[in-house]
């Protein structure tokens, strides 16, 4: 049983404090534990830091690693920036979308995988590359990418 969003925020405030500089820490903790940042967590964080709900929402909307929508147990982020693109990332994306039967930004029906694209993740020398949760996978081919995804719980 996971903790309530408000409780995660309370614990994060103990850890990070309640100044404006604590916002990123609080949001990161919520995102890590729940895989997304629900509305209740935004409200709780705004109250704790004494800023408006809109300000917290504005901050989290800037970061693609934060989401306000529930996501899958694993988040796949395929790089779509130029080096990866030149080395075939769009073919990989097509293959993954076909294999998982979802579009970019969507989650599989069983909640196993959310597929996203990301701007450069600094792995151009080993492109094409993707992140699965916090782990990088490099020098991908469509086949290999699909094989890796098949092994995810």
């Amino acid at each position: 049983m996971s903790r309530k969003p408000e409780d995660i925020v309370s614990a994060a405030v103990v850890k990070h404090g309640s100044g404006r500089e604590a916002v990123m820490g609080i949001l990161t903790d919520v995102n890590r534990e729940l895989g997304y940042i629900p509305e209740e967590a935004i409200k709780a964080a705004a109250k704790a830091v004494d800023v408006s709900n809109a300000e917290i929402y504005s901050v989290l909307s800037f970061y693609s690693f934060f989401s306000t929508e529930p996501r899958g147990r694993n988040i796949v982020r395929l790089c779509n920036t130029i080096s990866c693109e030149m080395n075939g990332s769009s073919d990989i994306l097509d293959a993954i979308e076909k294999e998982l039967d979802i579009k970019t930004g969507e989650t599989t029906a069983d909640g196993r995988i959310t597929l996203e694209t990301t701007s450069c993740i600094g792995l151009c020398d080993e492109s094409p590359a993707m992140l699965i949760n916090d782990t990088p996978h490099t020098r991908l081919t469509p086949e290999e990418a699909c094989k890796i995804l098949a092994g995810l719980e």
Binding site: E39, I42, V51, S52, N53, A54, E55, Y57, S58, S61, F62, S64, T68
Partner: protein, 591 residues
Amino acid sequence: MPNVSVTINGVTTSVREGVTILDSCKTAGVEIPTLCYHPDLSLAGNCRMCLVEVEGWKTLAIACVTPVTPNMVINTHSKKVRHARRTVLKLLLAAHNVNCPECERNKNCELQELAEKHNITFNEYQTSPKPSSIEEVSPGIMRDNSRCIMCTRCVRTCEELQSVAVIRPVGRSASVNISTFMDLGLNNVPCTQCGQCINRCPTGALFETSEIRQVWEAIEDPEKFVVVQTAPAIRVGIAEALGLPTDRTTGKMVAAIRGLGFDRVLDTDFTADLTIIEEGHELISRLKKVLVDGDTDTALPMTTSCSPGWIKFIEHKYPDLLPNVSSCKSPQQMFGALSKTYLAGKEGVDPSKVICVSIMPCTAKKYEKERPEMRDSGYKDVDYVLTTRELASMIQEAGIDFDNLHDEKYDRWMGDSTGAAVIFGATGGVMEAALRTAYEIVTGQEIPFEGLNIIPVRGMEGIKDAAITMPDKMASGFEFLAGVTLKVAVVHGLANTRKLMDKVRAGEVDYHFIEIMACPGGCLGGGGQPIPTNPTVRKKRSDAIYEEDAVLHFRKSHANPEIQLLYAEFLKEPLGHKSHELLHTHYTKRD
């Protein structure tokens, strides 16, 4: 700060060290184009319109945020500067919905004006036209982000002037938009509908929810008896909205409105006077309950209730203090309730045929009239609200030559005004009007200020206060106030209001009565007033309001002959049965 020498376009002048390049150029009479800059707001430096060249600098300087340094050599229109500014403008225009004729701000748009000044006749960056997209609709305010240039003036207004902070940039890079929490829209977040964001938008991304069409239809419907009320601040704003200099133009305004075809032209000033009578008696009654009866349930300080932006603010932010708010409806809503009861009777018309239109300096009034509790006449008390800008638009559409009109007078029954009512339009005005009347009720004598001018509560300071000690000899029935020092405060702008209400909540202040206006400067700086509204403009409008007060025959609300008639024939007494039924209201706690 010592003065330093700077050279601007070859002319050496002396300016205070630390002022910005923009301000030093302004002092030197050199104009620099700006967009994200606004004199009411903090500096953002994000639009890059004000770029200038500084000798020895590798890059251009952002004039609005760069302080001058000793012996700085500035060029404000070198080739490099002109090229950069044109590029900035073209890029802004390329990302803008350039459909000027269909825009509310056509011919009153800072972006359009700069495009004209910089002779942008061709834009190589313009690809496909950006379609209009109304993102948000609320009773008072609409937003079309296709016209937004991301200057964040609205964001800073909402946070810095109003401490409401419901709008923010959302998203990133090319997909960033000004939006609300979870993109819920202004109607579903604690927006006060004050419209200050509209007044600071350089383009047409923000505008009022218009009711011009509905008002024309009502006027043109022969079945309807259309009455119009004009708020105190309109008479000092309408000329400006028509492109004329700021002036008090009450007589011409009445003539113009009558020319539009309204059946009766009446004055919100009349119910401003009525508010003073009702609110003054409410204050005295609260003071008696606390001072004589020792009642601990009666809340003090009492605050005013005329500003609908303030009412929505307290409902969201300080619901625990709602018992402190006067139960009086705003003058607009008192007028509405009386127009379909008292006035309908006087005019001998069926109240169901009466359409009540208000001209307000305010967008929150559009929200206020939609409140479900504002139907005490048995009908919707106020049907339509037009801003000063919308009225100007109707006058222009009708081809009325405003400047050459002869002065006309308001119609009878609800058209009499006093100086006390006129100053409702300026911060401190309600307080001054209330003191002129309340003091006289309880002491039987005029308030001891020269010419009835209560100077301590006037002016643009954010929070003002005053203390008035009652004499030993009081009018019969008010002896309990003998020698009591009445402490009052006046606040305008919701950020200032928040500071004061925090102190009230903490019990740190012991005021008896507080006037609160949501907008900086009071109604004269309201969200429905002409654009631009800035410190210079607010001062001019304020001067015009106090001038009007000084020349009016009656300067105290209780001296208004039509108010006296209203009590004699209809209401009977202040805070009486009829008053409670029609003129008082209650408030709602909101999330």
